[in-house]
């Protein structure tokens, strides 16, 4: 709870009744929520350590209503926090005391399915999994598959540029979105991209994806769908050392193989998962790899053999190959349940999300172990091994005074370590509130100001989701000042952090 949010604007709070009335005039009936009891469910997202009831919740149903709400808030200087399903793990949808929480849950229609152009047009509140459900009858699916896919919305995925276990081969959200409709804070309805592969002009779609609700409200999304691969098979491989497992991953990629999924778990995670789902994970190994291959049966068979040989060369001590769909799903069951499984080891856990160059994995795990000793808190690791995205799960007990702060400090040290070895603060969960104050670890002041100038081009009054992503709130007028004009640019040698 160490991160401070912007001070509520008392003048706005004083006008709450008028604001609620104005929103009711736009969205009639139950679409505006202002009673304390009903606001409680909205007070946090997936980062539950942070809670703040919003001033009011509004649940529009049409783009027109979204535009009117934003236009009103812009005119009145009222902040707005967009929300999809509220599963963000970085506090992206955390409300502010003086802000309208704009819930997009009622935008739940699939608008168009076009198999010929292999795309689906949906409203942003449609869940990730619902897209696949809508097209699987015809043999198609939507590739990015966050573990939260039954709950999270495609609008949230766009805002966070979410990934999943299949994104090494099939890309993150940004690689699978063709277009969006976006309403600006000024209430303008704009379109970026569309049904063609390349959009016109500058790639603004690319910067909207992953912008964490700071640039505009997404009211429609066009995604690419793919034909479902004919088969999928998996290997479950145990290693006596993390180094060997890491080398197996590197050798697989060096052999030109990009598996559909490649996940690693360390000893604590393996034990927790096995205790929870009992699928027969080997317990006498230090690292477990799940490698999934998909494609025509001939391809899977061929690559399974190749990967098995690579694993053996790297000293694998256990190796199982799925012979049918049930077995493949059993291999995944432990990994998919890893979070709740680890959750049973302690009253609370805190999920981190840094990315590192894979070759630094053994060293990173060692130093994480040392940090674990230093903080006196356990840690289990699940790892998107193919792309170097780590998910350390820190175990703590929020009821013990000081433990939450310790867990946060431990987590921050892990992320600093990721950056130190050449990686980044977040691979898929977003910066949000959680990593906001760590941004200077990766970016210097000029870098951050340049990003904020992009924000200013969309939202000059900084009313959309303020307090997220950027550690310092600059006024746009100040950022816009151009030194160049006067020919006396100052470029002090600002130290890299």
């Amino acid at each position: 709870m160490s991160i401070k949010m912007p001070e509520p604007d008392q003048a706005v709070l004083a006008r709450r009744d008028a604001i609620v009335a104005a929103l009711r005039a736009i969205v009639p009936g139950e679409g505006v929520i202002d009673s304390e009891r009903e606001l409680t469910p909205y007070e946090s997202d997936g980062l539950t350590a942070y809670r703040q009831p919003p001033m009011v919740v509004v649940l529009p149903e049409t783009t027109q209503q979204v535009a009117e709400i934003l236009r009103y808030c812009h005119r009145e200087g009222v902040k707005v926090v967009p929300r999809g399903s509220g599963t963000s793990l970085s506090g992206g949808a955390l409300p502010l005391a003086d802000a309208v929480l704009l819930g997009m849950g009622k935008f739940n229609r699939v608008i168009e399915i076009d198999y010929d152009d292999r795309l689906v047009v949906v409203q942003p509140g449609v869940t990730n999994l619902a897209i696949t459900r809508a097209v699987e009858g015809e043999g198609f699916y939507y590739a990015p598959d966050p573990s939260s896919q039954i709950a999270c919305s495609i609008g949230g995925n766009v805002a966070e540029n979410s990934g999943g276990v299949h994104c090494l081969k099939y890309g993150l959200t940004t690689n699978n979105v063709l277009g969006v409709e976006l309403v600006t804070i000024e209430g303008e309805v704009l379109r970026f991209g569309g049904k063609a592969l390349d959009g016109a002009g500058m790639d603004l779609l690319g910067v909207i994806v992953g912008s964490e609700g700071l640039l505009g409200v997404v009211t429609e999304v066009t995604v690419r769908i793919l034909p479902k691969p004919e088969t999928a098979r998996a290997l479950l491989i145990g290693f006596p050392a993390v180094e060997a497992a890491g080398q197996c991953v590197a050798d697989t990629i060096a052999a030109g193989i990009i598996p559909a999924g490649m996940e690693m778990m360390d000893r604590p995670a393996i034990h927790a998962a096995e205790a929870f789902v009992k699928v027969g994970y080997p317990l006498n190994v230090e690292a477990l790899l799940i490698v999934e291959l998909d494609g025509p049966a001939a391809e899977c068979d061929h690559l399974i053999d190749e990967v098995a040989a690579i694993a053996q060369r790297n000293g694998a001590t256990t190796l199982q190959i799925s012979s049918d769909e049930d077995e493949r799903l059993a291999f995944w069951a432990g990994r998919k349940a890893a979070f709740p499984a680890v959750g049973r080891l302690a009253p609370d856990y805190y999920c981190m999300d840094g990315t590192i160059p894979r070759r630094r994995l053994p060293e990173v795990l060692q130093r994480m172990e040392a940090l674990s000793q230093q903080y006196g808190l356990g840690v289990a690791n699940v790892f998107h091994a193919g792309d170097g995205n780590l998910h350390p799960l820190i175990l703590y007990d929020a009821n013990q005074p000081g433990q939450l702060d310790k867990a946060e400090a431990f987590g921050n040290d892990i992320l600093r370590l990721c950056v130190e070895v050449g990686g980044v603060l977040t691979g898929e969960h977003g910066v949000g509130v959680e990593k906001r104050d760590l941004m200077p670890e990766m970016f210097d002041e000029i870098d951050l100001k340049q990003q904020q100038r992009v924000k200013c081009a969309f939202d000059p009054a900084s009313l959309l989701n303020p307090g997220k992503v950027f550690p310092t709130l600059h006024r746009c007028a100040e950022l816009g000042r151009t030194h160049v004009h006067h020919g006396q640019l100052s470029f002090p040698d600002i130290p890299r952090f």
Partner: protein, 377 residues
């Protein structure tokens, strides 16, 4: 011509140019200077000296290079490790990686492997504010901060001078097979390409050339997989006839005419139309009235056309179909008044201008090439 050796030189050059109110055109290989209106007043800044690989770790799938590095040099280094850029840049000799990113155009494999935008992971640059900055990262998976890399792809030198870029690289498929159908009419070709893309055959590229009367599908990957997918495609597409099967090198020759719209030869005018795939056929029919030659790539979603039709008509036709039209090549007098890039609707255009100002407040890179109003504050 400015010839900076280091990013600091670029800072100094831009600072000085701004003081003199000069405009600056960034030149990589300079192979695409025929795009857009001519820019006689702009000072040229050549990135040639900013060249070389900074780091390349094949197992991490990541390559970091200076932005002026010739593409050919990078492709050779990647090939040595069995890797490639999956967006398949089809460039003129002398092209630089900075120019490939600056133009943002990708080749035939874009329909399966993505575009340049899908492979730029991070960069360092000098903005129009004459400030050095960076964005993104050097690992394949990263969502820290805004994805400014996307803005750099297809920015045509209007935001910043890229100095260092980090790209995602991928294994180069070991085998490649091209299936060739001949003498299909255009409607059948469109049906064939569409149906192929809907099969779980992982088609890497699909194209149609009415002049030569060929319709091509390319499949790539490991041997057993390529074989199995060829059987699947031939079976499912049997009603279009039996295709010829052409392997690797000879197959590559078949694709060459599609790169850089080479099939259209020295035509004075070339349009690049990016459209929803199934609208492509209607568009070539609509444009056929005024004659001209065309080829289709991306399963029908990309058309290069040398029509002499009224540019406003071409653009209206393409807009109505949900696509856009880029004027890749045209005589000087046409380029002087027809914008090379497809005009955006008012709201989107105003936002794009604000974004440009966010990087280049004084309009240092506004050379007039794109026929926009100058935007200096």
């Amino acid at each position: 011509m400015h010839q900076p050796q280091t990013p600091e030189d670029i800072v100094a050059i831009l600072t000085d140019a701004a003081a003199r109110k000069a405009t600056v055109e960034i030149v990589g290989g300079g192979t695409r200077r025929s795009f857009g209106a001519s820019t006689p007043d702009a000072e040229q800044l050549a990135t040639t000296a900013l060249s070389g690989i900074i780091s390349y770790d094949p197992a991490e799938l990541v390559l970091t290079v200076k932005a002026g590095t010739p593409l050919a040099e990078l492709e050779a280094a990647l090939a040595e490790c069995g890797q490639a850029f999956l967006f398949e840049p089809n460039t003129a000799p002398g092209s630089t990686i900075g120019g490939v990113i600056g133009s943002g155009l990708s080749g035939s494999r874009r329909v399966s492997g993505g575009a340049v935008r899908d492979h730029l992971l991070g960069f360092e640059a000098v903005s129009g504010r004459a400030e050095r900055f960076k964005a993104g990262g050097k690992v394949v998976k990263n969502v820290t901060g805004y994805d400014l890399s996307k803005l750099m792809c297809g920015a045509w030198g209007r935001l910043a001078v890229l100095t260092e870029v980090t790209l995602k690289v991928l294994p180069n498929p070991t085998q490649s097979l091209t299936l060739v159908w001949t003498a299909l009419d255009d409607a059948a070709a469109w049906d064939l390409m569409g149906e192929a893309m809907r099969l779980p055959a992982d088609v890497a590229a699909a194209a149609h050339d009415p002049q030569r009367g060929v319709t091509l599908l390319r499949i790539e990957g490991f041997g057993p997989s390529v074989g199995a997918r060829a059987i699947l495609l031939k079976g499912a597409l049997a009603r279009f006839g039996v295709p010829q099967e052409i392997a690797a090198e000879e197959g590559a020759l078949l694709w060459r005419p599609f790169a850089n719209a080479a099939a259209l030869g020295q035509s004075p005018t070339i349009w690049r139309l990016s459209v929803p795939r199934k609208e492509g056929l209607g568009i070539v029919h609509a444009l056929a009235r005024d004659g001209g030659q065309w080829i289709a790539d991306w399963a029908g979603g990309l058309i290069h056309h040398d029509t002499q039709s009224d540019p406003a008509m071409v653009r209206a036709t393409v807009t109505a179909a949900g696509g856009h039209a880029m004027l890749l090549r045209a005589p000087d007098d046409v380029r002087a008044h027809v914008p090379a890039q497809h005009p955006l609707p008012q709201g989107e255009a105003a936002l794009a201008a604000r974004i440009r100002r966010a990087f280049d407040p004084a309009g240092l890179f506004e050379t007039g090439r794109f026929l926009d109003q100058p935007h200096a504050d």
